[in-house]
Symmetry: C2
Subunit: 469 residues, 2 copies
Amino acid sequence: MVGASAVPGKWGFTILFNILNGGFTGKIFPVNPREKSIMGLPCHASLMDIPEEIDAALIVTPAQAVPAVIDDCGARGIPYAIVITSNFSETGREGARLERIVIDKAREYGMHIVGPNTMGIFSANSFLHALMPTVQPLHGSVSMLSQSGNVGAEMLARGLAEGVGFAKFVSSGNEADITCVDYLRYFGEDEATQVILAYLEGVKPDADLLSVARSVSLQKPIIVVKGGRTRAGEKAAASHTGAMGGAATIYRGIFRQAGMIEVTSSQRLMDSARVFAHCPIPRGNRVAIITRGGGWGVMAADACEENGLVVPPLPQEIINEVDTLLPPYWSHGNPIDMVAVTAAEPFLKCMELLTNWDGVDAVITAGAFNRMAVTYSERSRVPAECRQAMAASGDDRFATVFAALQRMIAETGKPVIDVMLFPREEEKNGVPGYRPVSFPNTDRAVQALTALVQYGTFLKTQGAAAGIS
Amino acid sequence: MVGASAVPGKWGFTILFNILNGGFTGKIFPVNPREKSIMGLPCHASLMDIPEEIDAALIVTPAQAVPAVIDDCGARGIPYAIVITSNFSETGREGARLERIVIDKAREYGMHIVGPNTMGIFSANSFLHALMPTVQPLHGSVSMLSQSGNVGAEMLARGLAEGVGFAKFVSSGNEADITCVDYLRYFGEDEATQVILAYLEGVKPDADLLSVARSVSLQKPIIVVKGGRTRAGEKAAASHTGAMGGAATIYRGIFRQAGMIEVTSSQRLMDSARVFAHCPIPRGNRVAIITRGGGWGVMAADACEENGLVVPPLPQEIINEVDTLLPPYWSHGNPIDMVAVTAAEPFLKCMELLTNWDGVDAVITAGAFNRMAVTYSERSRVPAECRQAMAASGDDRFATVFAALQRMIAETGKPVIDVMLFPREEEKNGVPGYRPVSFPNTDRAVQALTALVQYGTFLKTQGAAAGIS
């Protein structure tokens, strides 16, 4: 790591801190001419002094010093450099000239460059957290390519909070050598990667992007946010990564042809990652809805229709069966409103009926797990014995319902998307593979399901659906 | 409270529990023929046995028993009843007949009825939490009318988590007597109410709704979600509240004419409540954006343009001033990307320039307060002295920045909407009045600002903007 620093507040300090904090399994050699040791590691004055073979150099020096470091890398036969340093082509003509020098040298040495102007990379399998932000991502099956460091950092941090684990991450910076198309191709081949997220600003909407993205999409889903969809956004992007944007409709066409799922907010990118990591791909767009409360059913049905999903009528034979499970004033249709029934058994029996109903491809539940927590203030006049009675009545059926729904999803191949007001640790963490996935409101639940349905439609029209999870 | 219960799991138990837990300032008389006392309160066999004057009856008996209870209310001269009991007009012809009997009796006695089929009411000033859900709402200046109990409960619970306090809440149920138009008129006159939220499913789109909503909107904002915008949603709504929906475009027209702000998700309803409770109303749709990172600027600019907001170019005199505050490679435009500058002073100086710039009506900030928390795992290789150095470098400037922004908002009358990855307790709670309001992503920040701008436009075109906060 060239430009490592012993001074808190300097980026060289923060990144080395993050690498050590992540528990990187390899060796780290800080390089800085003014220090003898940094964070307990012996420090070398130059790359040339390091006594071992080096796999990659992480460069955090001032921009003017980078060409000389690349020369050292070339002399040492280092095949990869991650250039965190900014002030290259993104800042104008002088920076572009310097970037050209760096890249020409790298080509000469047969080196490849991440960046410059990158926030770093992350790789779960070697515990390599070579990032500017202090976030230590959760490990999992999602990989992300970001043409914005802070949008990428937002996703890693939010994933940690929402239970989305990452396999690989790269902030691609100015992409002077390795480009976003290269990263897409790599994620497509990477076995640890099951879902790909991309935040793109400046990418040529050409045949190369289309063909690589299309062939990757046939293997695994790519969900993309394109920054610079509008004139205002495009202007902002031009000053940011130094790359030119382009007409939104051209991108939209390419994304659609390539089977990439376009969303327009970081929240939807994250929500899509969660469902793709844990849901089977639905075979169509028909949705059953079951709720503990009519309003959620109405909001979910509206959102479904507004997003191109279909809420088909309940067949008479299912109505007859549900009649034996719920009070006579249940909704008698799809959505099934269970009215005020809070027990687990009738809900799970209804879910058996709905997941096995061949008229639908997915099920949305609202209130499947809900347990309203009781808080007591100083003003509370509730006597102690009633507090005990209330606590005892709060039968927590989370584990039972979760396991039953997992089984139904595995047996029927239909996703179950849930609305749960507040996330629970049990739902967020751990459990890999197929499972119900919860969102805090109907809008996000339906949007996430829509992404799954769009991808299912792509696979179906490509006749290549077999074997994709 | 008629139909109060000593049995946990029964709704009569839960509601009485919630009333006591909320610390209601008035007297409560449980009524149940089979109990001597409930939750430490003496229990009466009938309304007729209560030895004091009664202001309101809360009814939780089976539906068939409600007419007789109304007779008792009439005999006692009770002016209001809240009928929690369901199984009335929402369940079909027989229920409708029973509901008619109840309402005819109430009219005869000069009584007014909330419901039936309501989840209850909440009033902050008497600490009355007469609700089926156990949520104890935060107290504040937002009032809500909900034609769905569970959508309403979601908002109260989410408000508690997101720092949105309520003055009044009503789940209006079947509206057999008091209707949503009555509640709107009441909230319009209520001094404790500054912002009105409504979830509507079945409301006649007539001149009465238009004229009441319009006259209230001129005093305070009404933000509405209309359930049943689509055919699927309308069908679901018909089976839910027993009310007929109607064509979405008719409602949209009425909402627009009345100055009501329509949103389509519960999250946006909540987000709107937060900004209306704490932001001045902007005088136009022009937005300055300042970020610590280019990607957020791009995403915010895209979202602004997609929502009809304008991101005007930065005038040369502001560019010249910012040149003295930021490194030479800052974005030189709107959005201002502060690149990797993390100090508070240059940010606040830029904010002075932006809030005082007469070319914009609002400012969006991203990363104003951000402080990335560091976590340490078992794998961490960071030595103790570096942990200390890292902790010491994490200068927390929250209070300084918050106070400075509060002052700028008050002085310039321009809202400041912030993007903060994770909410902080200091930001969520307490501070009433004008202040910066934070959202976890650019999308929600821009949507919330858009609601403010829409309302500002309504007031401006009505020439009635004076004195509205």
